[in-house]
Symmetry: C2
Subunit: 191 residues, 2 copies
């Protein structure tokens, strides 16, 4: 099992060597090049992705053609379209790589089997889902209650390592402003 995945799992549950080995047989290593898609809107998201290297993003495109980034996934994070994955419906999101990335891919059907073999995994994914809820909730509160500049400062505080590797445009999309406006805010701030 990939050390990053192992470390990730160990943070929440305890698996025996056997269980770990059993688990790891279902994760398929995958490499995805910069700008290549892992998922496109309308497709069915048939598996979950654990990032080991690089960085992915998920985003929606609105009817005016603008991208709205939902999530960045650096190493150690999961990414997927939860709606499409759990209900096997057409995805609302695109997922692509911002740079060449290495992934571990877990098929939905394999995960369902794993839940039966290792009930602890239900617990793991319950906790991961709860953490995700907390993150979404905080972001929602930010969006509802803060002006753009504070949302930006928030982002920098929360993801200091991401700020360094992301183009400004991507950050603008995440915090919910146009790239032009983010640029103007930053030039104001520098004064």
């Amino acid at each position: 099992m990939h050390p990053l995945l192992r470390q990730h799992i160990d943070r929440y549950i305890t698996l025996s060597e056997q269980e770990q080995d059993h688990c790891s047989t279902f994760f398929q290593p995958l490499v995805i090049k910069k700008k290549h898609y892992l998922l496109q809107e309308g497709a069915i998201n048939k598996g979950l992705t654990f990032v080991t290297d690089g960085i992915l993003r998920s985003y929606a495109i609105d009817k005016n053609g603008f991208e709205h980034i939902i999530q960045f996934a650096p190493p150690g994070w999961w990414i997927g379209d939860m709606g499409s994955f759990t209900r096997q419906e057409p995805a609302k999101l695109f997922i692509d790589a911002l740079e060449e990335s290495k992934l571990l891919w877990l098929e939905r059907s394999d995960l369902e089997h794993l839940y039966k073999d290792i009930p602890q995994l239900e617990r793991l994914f319950r906790i991961l889902a709860e953490n995700s809820i907390i993150t979404y909730q905080n972001r929602l509160i930010s969006n509802l209650s803060m002006p753009a500049i504070e949302r930006y400062e928030n982002f920098c505080r929360q993801y200091p390592s991401l700020i360094q590797c992301l183009p400004q445009k991507q950050v603008a999309s995440y915090i919910g402003v146009t790239p032009q406006f983010l640029s103007k805010m930053l030039s104001e701030q520098r004064k």
Copy 2:
């Protein structure tokens, strides 16, 4: 076990009579009057709440004193401050009743025991958490990509029964505009 709770659980997992009975011993019935708090910012959220009658809401108050509604909980819904509940940290949210309501209260420690007695419950709460993620994600996309009037129309489509019993002010807070602006939008729309 309360029929609404039973029906709710049955939608996702299958419990034996015994398991159901065991479960239900931990749910404490509770009545909360209009405008009374179930949780206040800064307190620790020590349990989860399943609503059987009435309606609750959770909301954050920003530094300017404005409320931002995170969730409404009509009968059949859970409500709580996930961050405070799972990490036993001070809550960021207030939860109160919009009208006199009846609840079933489940203590965190009891839930932890229940997870051990009935591992299926890990599954139940995993699925509930995943559904919650999907809801938050859709709302985030709405907030990022739609003007206020469309967010309102969205809300009406998604929660037709809520629209009828909620004062306009509460809906405004949920979709993220001032009550004045919602009023202006609606009077425009009527023309």
